[in-house]
């Protein structure tokens, strides 16, 4: 996030897009609700009538994957109505004039054809955001998990640059990170293009710095992304070490993923449970879990906080850092003689520009938000206050692109996926916590009542959902939360593995999978045998 969580109480206009915050980041959503109670207005762009949409002033039920068209049209209206922040644009941005010209042709009427929203609602949303003294944008993976994920994010940045909604209280472009330490994993250098602290691997000075620290020269060449690596399993990549990820279930196109992992000569998995992914490994190392591990995590507002062990781990489970460092020692490598999490974290701080002013003891109370460039620096709750790191905020001239797969006669329904409040990801944890099943014990496919009638489905009955990648059976639930023509399921339950269907392409820059827009076919089927249906093979994970 560019701004701290505490700023979420303070905007005049909130623009949430591709974020089901009341279910995925519930505590952050309470701050937005407090802002609304104070009189703030809210725009929610999401195909589904999610919880936030129910309390929004404007809900834009856009078609999955059409965000760029909507955001171009909003920029068009803001420019046309003279709501641009000219001072901010002149002092802090580049290519503003080009952008104003660029958006001249993208009228709300043009966008309405693509995003299937009402042109007047687009206009209304643009006037709200453009007219705000403090406008804040919040988004989650509904923005990034598309073939145009980067374009989507840059479209949001364009809006913020246009209206000067950056670097001030209650403003910003704020991604809500979905996992407790997904920010920290990147900060710590688990990226193919960056050393710790986002220092690029292609820079000779950085190479030299880490050569000195690690006693080994690292390639100047950017590594491959996980997506490419999975594509090249058995053909270039022959060993993988996976830490705390149920790759088989969470990644798109499960058949492809399963095939990839099985093609390896060596798969090492470090986890706390025997997950679906661990089951296909050659070696499984037992890790200590949350509340058993001392360590550090960084939240969505870049706040660096301590994790503390409260109970001993089961049996011989060990901290992840211990496992990997001991394996390195068995490889015969020097420099891996770490004895504590503190020692590991302090080495990270000593090599990271963003954590340079931090160490294990200094973060004890969780008061720092990075960057903290040197000791004594108070941290940076709000980014971009005086200037942008790279000088000026650059407008990007973007065009709308269709998703890689679009609707056809054979696959006429959009499937979009996400989380639900009580369950987390593949239920590795929440599925083993007593009581959670009381709130949500099975997956259902959310279908608009008109689609149920049109497709011959039944509320509470079963449907076969398929596309060329796979096929599964799922119970149907009628709800107007889904728009007509779009259905929703979570990927939480292993008996409804929706990721056998997803996988229609990747963002070309980040290689983030297009998990949010996937054409499928739906037809009624009987209940599975266990529930009294006719005996016969469940399609399960089988290919069509």
């Amino acid at each position: 996030m560019s701004n701290p969580l505490a700023d979420m109480d303070k905007p005049d206009v909130i623009f949430c897009i591709g974020t089901n915050m009341t279910e995925c980041h519930p505590v952050a959503a309470t701050r937005l609700k407090r802002a609304l109670a104070r009189g703030a207005k809210m725009i929610v762009a999401d195909p589904r009538r999610i919880g936030l949409a129910e309390i929004a002033d404007v809900h834009l039920p856009l078609r999955v994957g059409s965000d760029v068209s909507l955001l171009l049209a909003m920029a068009h209206v803001i420019a046309r109505e003279g709501l641009v922040d000219e001072g901010f644009m002149a002092q802090r941005t580049a290519h503003g004039e080009d952008f104003l010209k660029h958006v001249e042709r993208y009228t709300p009427e043009w966008a309405a054809e693509i995003c299937e929203c009402d042109a007047q609602d687009i206009e209304k949303a643009a006037l709200l955001y453009g007219g705000a003294d403090r406008g804040a944008i919040y988004y989650t993976v509904g923005i990034t998990e598309h073939i145009c994920g980067v374009d989507n994010v840059q479209s949001l940045c364009n809006l913020a640059l246009l209206t000067g909604n950056l670097g001030r209280e209650g403003t910003g472009v704020n991604p809500m990170r979905g996992q407790n330490n997904i920010q920290g994993a990147g900060d710590a250098g688990a990226l193919p293009n960056n050393y710790p602290g986002f220092q690029t691997v292609t820079d000779l000075a950085h190479q030299e710095k880490f050569h000195k620290a690690y006693g080994r020269k690292v390639d100047l060449e950017v590594g491959m992304t996980k997506v490419t690596a999975l594509d090249l399993c058995g053909d270039g990549i022959h060993a993988m070490m996976i830490n705390g990820e149920n790759t088989l279930v969470t990644d798109p196109d499960r058949h492809h993923c399963e095939h990839a992992l099985k093609s390896l000569d060596c798969l090492i998995v470090i986890d706390i449970f025997m997950t679906e992914t661990a089951r296909v490994a050659d070696v499984v190392f037992p890790a200590t879990a949350w509340a058993e591990t001392d360590g550090v995590c960084t939240n969505t507002e870049r706040r660096v906080q301590r994790l503390r062990a409260a109970v001993p781990p089961p049996g011989e489970a060990k901290p992840d850092w211990w496992i990997v460092s001991r394996l390195a020692q068995r490889m015969g490598w020097k420099g891996f003689e770490f004895e504590s999490a503190k020692e590991v974290f302090n080495e990270l701080c000593s090599l990271s520009s963003t954590y340079a002013g931090l160490d294990w003891d200094r973060i004890d109370r969780g008061e720092y938000q990075w960057p903290v460039p040197e000791e004594g620096h108070p941290g940076t709750p709000r980014l971009h206050e005086e200037r942008f790191e790279n000088g000026r905020g650059i407008f990007k001239m973007l065009e709308y692109r269709d998703p890689e797969e679009t609707l056809s006669e054979d696959y006429p329904i959009w499937l979009t996926t996400g989380r639900r409040l009580p369950q987390y990801h593949t239920r590795t944890q929440t599925g083993r916590a007593a009581g959670i099943d009381y709130l949500l014990s099975e997956e259902t496919l959310e279908v608009h009542p008109d689609d149920i009638a049109r497709l011959g489905l039944e509320d509470g009955g079963w449907a076969e959902m398929s596309n060329p990648r796979g096929c599964l059976h799922v119970k149907v639930r009628a709800t107007t939360k889904s728009p007509k023509g779009t259905v929703f399921a979570s990927f939480a339950f292993e008996d409804v593995p929706v990721n056998v269907l997803t996988g229609g392409g990747y963002d070309p820059v980040t290689q983030t999978a297009a998990l949010k827009a996937c054409p499928v076919a739906l037809k009624p089927v009987g209940p599975p045998p266990a529930l009294g249906g006719a005996p016969g093979p469940q399609p399960g994970l089988g290919r069509l």
């Binding site: 309470t30 688990a190 990549i237 879990a289």
Partner: protein
């Protein structure tokens, strides 16, 4: 509950606002209530309906103070401090009034002492009864509130026989959570906390965040998961850490007894959450001690093709042997590392150090692209 400790500053015009508190001249900030000023000066005014995160309510009347010029004592939690005010927070008359109030409050409840596992604020009433020596039973008789034993939810105990109608639960649900799942039915002695149409919580707008439990000062509401552990032996120890689920980074205090997690409390001073939690952070902690946890390394048996338990020595050597063979056969660029967004920094850092410092490549990523 969480205390506000901001020290007073000049009011912008260079004039310090002052009032007299128990004979002492004290400074305050514009907009502060008498209660807030008094708290900062450790006057320890008793309250039952007060939660510093919520709007002042003035329901329990325990926080009344004597204000010079006012005919009756005033509720300090709702009265804004004004320059020149002369306030007494503890006089014989006030203490007598508070004691009688506590005797009356206690008389309506079935239990005056509840297990601390009920929730964060659950001991507030019992502590005040002790402080005012108010367990006299003078007003024993009718009791108010009707418990909802029919609510079969596994998280929130709804024992309204012990409700004192402070409305903290209703207010935290509305003001803090913005959910408005519970409300107040009837008036006076017949007041009852209820959901819309008087149904079960799961059929209401309740998200089971547990905030109502944690603010309840009497144990009328209780954390059923923690209460299930109330007989686990040992002292309750609290460890400050961060919730393991989404990226908001809510601070929690994990309650343990000996080697078992017995419950979770929200950290009122957590910088990201300021006391809030969701259903997962509050209740989904018991995967930690689950019997299916991995407790030993496993390696794939060369003969049977099955995974079998192994010692650390054997498993580390086995893994290193396999990796060395891959490096020998296919080169150092044939090894790939995937770090977790669910494990701490040290895990991700060590994984990239393994790939970079060990193999000299940048074949490292984390799970954020999926």
């Amino acid at each position: 509950m969480m205390k506000r400790n901001g020290s007073p500053s000049a009011n912008g015009k260079g004039v310090r606002l002052t009032m007299t508190l128990d004979g002492e001249k004290v400074a305050f900030n514009r907009g502060e209530t008498i209660y807030e000023v008094a708290e900062r000066h450790r006057k320890d005014i008793p309250t039952l309906c007060y939660d510093p995160r919520l709007e002042p309510f003035g329901g329990c009347r325990l926080c009344v103070v004597e204000l010079e010029g006012a005919r009756n004592p005033v509720a300090s939690c709702t009265m804004e401090a004004q320059p020149g005010m002369r306030v007494r927070t503890r006089t014989a008359a006030l203490e007598t009034q508070r004691r009688i109030l506590m005797e009356m409050v206690a008389s309506e409840n079935r239990d005056t002492d509840v297990d601390p596992m009920h929730g964060y604020a659950s001991q507030e009433m019992a502590e005040l009864l002790d402080r005012y020596d108010a367990r006299t039973g003078r007003f024993e008789g009718a009791q108010s509130g009707a418990s909802r034993d029919d609510d079969d939810n596994p998280f929130i105990k709804r024992d309204y026989d012990n409700c004192i109608s402070c409305y903290r639960c209703v207010r935290v649900c509305a003001e803090q959570e913005g959910d408005y799942a519970i409300s107040i039915m009837n008036r006076g002695f017949h007041t009852q906390i209820t959901t819309e149409f008087g149904g079960l919580l799961k059929d209401s707008a309740c998200t089971f965040c547990g905030q109502c439990i944690q603010t309840c000062p009497t144990g009328a509401l209780g954390d059923l998961k923690a209460l299930a552990n109330k007989d686990v032996p040992g002292e309750t120890k609290k460890t400050r850490t961060i919730c393991p689920y989404c990226g908001v980074g809510c601070a929690v205090d994990v309650m343990t007894r000996e080697e078992k997690i017995v419950g979770v409390l929200p950290a009122m001073d957590g910088p990201a959450n300021e006391g809030s939690l969701c259903v997962k952070g509050q209740f989904a902690f018991d995967f930690v001690g689950h019997p299916e946890r991995l407790s030993t390394p496993f390696i794939r048996d060369e003969k049977s093709g099955q995974l079998r338990p192994a010692s650390w020595d054997e498993a580390l050597d086995f893994a290193a042997g396999k990796l060395k063979k891959v490096v020998k056969d296919h080169g150092r660029r044939a090894v790939y590392g995937i770090a977790s967004g669910r494990a701490p920094h040290e895990a991700a850092y060590m994984m990239q150090r393994f790939i970079r410092g060990g193999l000299g490549t940048n074949h490292i990523d984390n799970c954020s692209r999926a």
